[in-house]
Every structure is written in structure tokens, then in C-alpha cells.
């Protein structure tokens, strides 16, 4: 039974193994938990390492002990259950690309109103794993995703985004490990204030038969300029916040001489945004003009979008419209060291827009090892 709990917890994304399992058994043998409530609390204390994992624990526990109760409010319940949906290999069966967004949204709301219960599979109701255009982890083309992480990746829009509700976050990257990697990005040069070189002073003083000989040198200072450009829209929202935290923390650690971050939605167009909510913005050409040739550019994004979003100009009527890919090429031409970090695993990179962007910027997976390779690329002296 406890092995099943372990397997279920791992399936929910908790990074636990045989060690935690044995620890739990040890605690049980010492009589820490005597009833099911006790077991719940004890297991949580051992299996979770952060309050963000509590939700996953709840699910794993409920699944294993089969007393998962559904809350009375259907709407709440619906979103919640959609969030739990399992990832699956994409196999497209329904094609809904002929509908535009408004139609989709309208149909979605209609269907939500009709629907009375939870639904998995099938081709009509909002649910999981089906070929209806609405729901989660579905395989319908051009449909609409409801909450949660996308499995099938065909959704054009995300209704009911509630990823950030409560404490739940999906641990895509471990900030700490990445921070350690980022430290290697430092490019130190002796350009700072004059300071006492203690070792050398002692050395020279000793050679000087004890007569004090002061040796000075310049302080080491960072010379690296870094600009971070992040896709903060839709499916990227959960990643963007973490990445921003990561780089902000790194810049606080004096890793960089200067650091700026901008966000965009899907791809870069005329404007770049300077805040999370995408209200304060700057013209992209201005940002581009201010970049120094030796500035390191770090893009973060899943790079997967509808092809027209990358290859054709996106603008209001009457405005000049450079395509997203053209903007990206300009960034590449401006700065010689740049990388693209992709939070998606490489198996999803066969997507046409991902490979197009991968052709411009060296692309790395947003993991510790990918980051390490990216840092190597960025470290090249320019």
C-alpha cells in the first residue's frame, strides 16, 4: 500500500524515492502515526519539501487511499479536476482549427453551462484527454485549453488560468541549482577600487625581512551586461515568474554589471513590456538600439506558437508590421552572444516555430544541464 503511495506521489511530480519511503516506514514503526489523519500529516512532512508540493501530496494521498471526495461546487471542481489531468502523447483526432477564438469561447461557455458533471475522454464535453475542442490534455487541433498545464499543446487560448492560485507551483526548474550555474557566468576584471592585497603584502614583507611592504591591487568587478527577454504569456506564465526571480536574484548577487528584463507575449513584436502585467511598455526598436554589442541576450520561451504568429506581422491595421522572426533576427544581429532557453523538453522541439527559432538562436533546455551549456555559449569573449 505504501509502495503505491510512493508511485502515486512520483506520478504527481513529487521528487521522492526509496529513501523517503523507508523514512516513512521507519517513522510508522516508531509509532508516530496511529490513524489515517496521522498518516496523512506524517507522510506530508516526509514527502513534501515545500508548501507548493502539498497539493500534489493531497492528490497522491487521496488517490492511494481512494477517498477522494469532490467538492460540491461543480465549477470549482471542474477546474480543479482539469488541473489534475494526466499528460499524454498527442494524437490529433478532432480538428477545430476552422473556428476562430470568439466562436470557440462562445461555444465553451455554452457547453460549460450545459455540462453537469466531470468528464474524461469523449468528443463533446469539456474534459480531459478527449477530442472535444475544450478541456485539458486533449488532442483536438485548435481547441481551447482549460486551466492546468497543456499536454496536447494545441490549445489557442487558456481560459480559467488558475495556476498561481494557492501555493501550487510546478517545479520546472530548481532556482537554486540554476543560481549556482549562473555564478559561473561572472566575468570578473580588476577594475574596481584599490584594495589591500593581503597575501601579496605578507609575501613581500617576509621577503623584505619583516619590514612592512604594502601591496595594493584593484578590486574585482563584474563586467557583464545581461538582458533577459521572456515570453510571459499563456502557457509560459508559470515559467516566466521563476526565471525572472532567478535572474533578479543573480543580479543581486553581483553576478552582472547591468541587468534588464523585458517580457513579451508569444513572440517579439513592436513593443516590449517592462512589468509582469504587461502594462508598461517600450518600443522594441528603442530597446534594440540601446543594446551594446557585447551584451548577452537570454531569451526564455517555449517558442511554440501558431505559425502565423511567428512568420507574419502582428499589428493593428495601419501599423507597420515586422514579423516576429524578423525582430528576432535583428536582436541576433545586434548582439553576438545570445541564447534561447526553452522550458519544454527537447522532444517537443520538432514544432515548426520552435525549429525556426532554434535556427536563429542556440536553444537549450531550461534545466540545470541545459543552463550550464547556455552559460558556456554566453561566456565566449566578445
Amino acid at each position: 500500500m505504501f509502495v503505491e503511495l510512493l508511485i502515486s506521489a512520483r506520478a504527481r511530480g513529487l521528487s521522492v524515492g526509496i529513501g523517503e519511503h523507508l523514512t516513512l516506514l521507519e517513522a510508522l514503526s516508531k509509532g508516530v502515526a496511529t490513524d489515517i489523519d496521522g498518516l496523512y500529516h506524517l507522510g506530508r512532512a516526509i514527502y513534501c519539501r515545500s508548501e507548493t508540493e502539498y497539493d500534489a501530496w493531497d492528490l497522491a494521498f487521496a488517490e492511494t487511499f481512494q477517498d477522494a471526495k469532490l467538492p460540491p461546487d461543480l465549477r470549482e471542481n471542474l477546474v480543479q479536476w482539469l488541473e489534475q489531468a494526466a499528460e499524454r502523447e498527442a494524437k490529433a483526432e478532432g480538428d477545430w482549427t476552422h473556428l476562430d477564438r470568439e466562436e470557440l469561447l462562445k461555444k465553451f461557455l455554452e457547453r460549460l453551462a450545459e455540462q453537469k458533471e466531470r468528464h474524461d475522454g469523449g468528443n463533446h464535453w469539456i474534459g480531459t484527454k478527449g477530442t472535444s475542442p475544450f478541456g485539458h490534455s486533449g488532442h483536438a487541433k485548435g481547441g481551447m485549453r482549460v486551466g492546468g498545464a497543456g499536454g496536447g499543446r494545441q490549445a489557442m487560448n487558456m481560459a480559467l488560468e488558475r495556476r498561481w492560485e494557492g501555493y501550487r507551483t510546478d517545479r520546472v526548474l530548481d532556482i537554486r541549482d540554476l543560481q549556482v550555474v549562473l555564478r559561473t557566468l561572472r566575468d570578473l576584471g580588476r577594475v574596481g577600487r584599490v584594495e589591500l592585497d593581503l597575501d601579496e603584502t605578507i609575501d613581500q614583507t617576509a621577503k623584505n625581512a619583516g619590514d612592512i611592504e604594502i601591496v595594493e591591487r584593484r578590486e574585482r568587478k563584474n563586467r557583464l551586461d545581461v538582458v533577459l527577454l521572456m515570453d510571459a504569456g499563456g502557457s509560459m506564465a508559470p515559467h516566466a515568474r521563476r526565471v525572472e526571480q532567478l535572474f533578479t536574484a543573480a543580479s543581486k548577487l553581483d553576478t552582472f554589471k547591468s541587468f534588464a528584463s523585458y517580457t513579451f507575449h508569444n513572440c517579439i513584436y513592436r513593443w516590449l513590456y517592462t512589468d509582469d502585467a504587461q502594462r508598461d511598455r517600450m518600443p522594441t526598436h528603442e530597446v534594440l538600439a540601446n543594446l551594446k554589442p557585447h551584451t548577452r541576450l537570454v531569451f526564455v520561451g517555449d517558442a511554440s506558437m501558431a505559425p502565423y504568429e511567428l512568420f507574419s506581422g502582428m499589428s493593428w491595421p495601419g501599423e507597420d508590421a515586422l514579423s516576429g522572426i524578423e525582430w528576432l533576427r535583428r536582436f541576433k544581429a545586434r548582439c553576438s552572444a545570445s541564447v534561447w532557453l526553452n522550458p519544454d523538453p527537447p522532444r517537443l522541439w520538432r514544432h515548426p516555430t520552435v525549429s525556426a527559432i532554434g535556427g536563429i538562436f542556440p536553444m537549450y533546455e531550461l534545466t540545470v544541464s541545459g543552463m550550464r551549456d547556455a552559460v558556456k555559449t554566453l561566456r565566449v569573449p566578445v
Binding site: G31, V32, H41, A45, C48
Partner: protein, 275 residues
Amino acid sequence: MSFDAFAGTDDYIADDGLLASVNAAIALRRPLLVKGEPGTGKTMLARAVAASLNMSLLSWHVKSTTKAVDGQYTYDVVQRLNDSRFGDADVSDIRNYIRLGVMGQAFASDERVVLLIDEIDKADLEFPNDLLRELDEMAFHIPELDETVAAKHRPVVIITSNAEKELPDAFLRRCVFHFISFPERVQMEQIVRVHHPRLDQALMDRALDRFFAFRKTTGLRKPPSTSELVDWLTVLSHAGVDVESVQTGDPFLGVLFKQEQDLVAATAPKRRTLY
């Protein structure tokens, strides 16, 4: 249970989850890592555990400059150098210049103690990693003396974090984790009762109403927490504020809100409903 179990104390209210976590940590002889909003009683927990288990408490308050070795021992080289010049003390014995840090004292203690490592996230990124071996083996080596200080009795280790920095995975794996969530109203009333046993019930109800309403106000930089509520009630009862004006007049809000913007944000929506 085959070990000394913690059951809360008269002046510390703990929920089942917290009790289970503390007891798991004691039984498994692992450090207990406690996270939670400021003011949810993380540091108080260590005191309560010490009191309940009848052990003494050693606190190591971590600062941004704290190094792992500080908790083990310090070697006062400057004092020794100074003494050697003036011949005041016996310089030949290094032992005279080695002082055990808080962790060292906990290990060397003849009785089992509770060791609190407070706000571990304040220190450098590498700090928790530097403690791994010490917490695993409950021993450390002093190269200057070529001696190993090993714990006579494994202390009950309680570590608190405000989640300012992420802690390393290797460190987390060795800990029993507990997140203290903000108390629900019923539990909050119990907690307040511990501090104000003779408080008028009507005043308590009104104050709690206002308090939980304030916490729901969006955009607060620092929502008021338990300790602020307790302070607020102290002020209200001392000043003899009548029950009705707690609801309408918002007296002494400075106790609840430490930042000017929060004070403005908390009171603004209420005025709108009055007119």
C-alpha cells in the same frame, strides 16, 4: 510511542499536522524544517518543544554574514596574538582561544537539548550545504585541536525559514518539512485566548472580524499576522476601547499595519461604503 512526544503546551497551540511533523522529526532524529509567513509562530515552536520535552533551548540566529563554522566554534586568533605580546595568559594552549558556537554547545551538552537554527534562509546560498555533514553525523572536527566534537545526545534540531532563498535539495531531503499555514478563525481565537484569557468575548469577536477582513484586503505589503493581532488586542483592552468603535472607528490601526501604504489601503474601501 517509543520516544518523547510533543503535545503542545498551555501557551502554544499546535494543530495535528504540526504535532505529527514535530514528533516525526523527534522519532526519526532528523531536523525539522518549519516554513511559514512571518508571525505564525515558527520561533515560538522551538520554545514550546523545549518546554514540553523539558529540555533547554539553544538558539542560533542566522544572519546574512553567518558562516556554518560560526555555529561550531570560533578561534580567537587576535586575542591570542595580543596575549602573546603582553604575556597576560597562557598562549601555548590553543584551547584557551577556541570557543564553541551554539551548535557546538548543543553537541557538547550533557543533556539532550533543543537546537533552534533560526531563519536559515538569511545566510549565504551555500550555508545549508555546509551544515549537511554536521546535521547528519551530529559531529564536527576542529582542525586547530585535531579533535572531533560529537554530540553526546543528538539534539532536537528545529530550523526555521522565511523562504527568502530556496534551500538546496540535498538539505531538504534530510529534513522533515512542515509549513505552518495561517491559523483559521477558530484556531486564532484559541491562540488569542492564551495571551488574553480574560478578554471580553464581544470585543474578541469584533476584533477578529476586523482582523480577518483586513487580511482579505488586497494589495497589502505585509498583512497583519498573529503577533500584531495579539498586540492590537492588548492595546484595545488597555485603552478600554468600547466594542462598537472597534467596528466603526478602527482604533490603533498602527499596531496592525507597520507600513503607511498598508494603513491607507486597509481603511480606504471602508470609507467608501460609509458614504
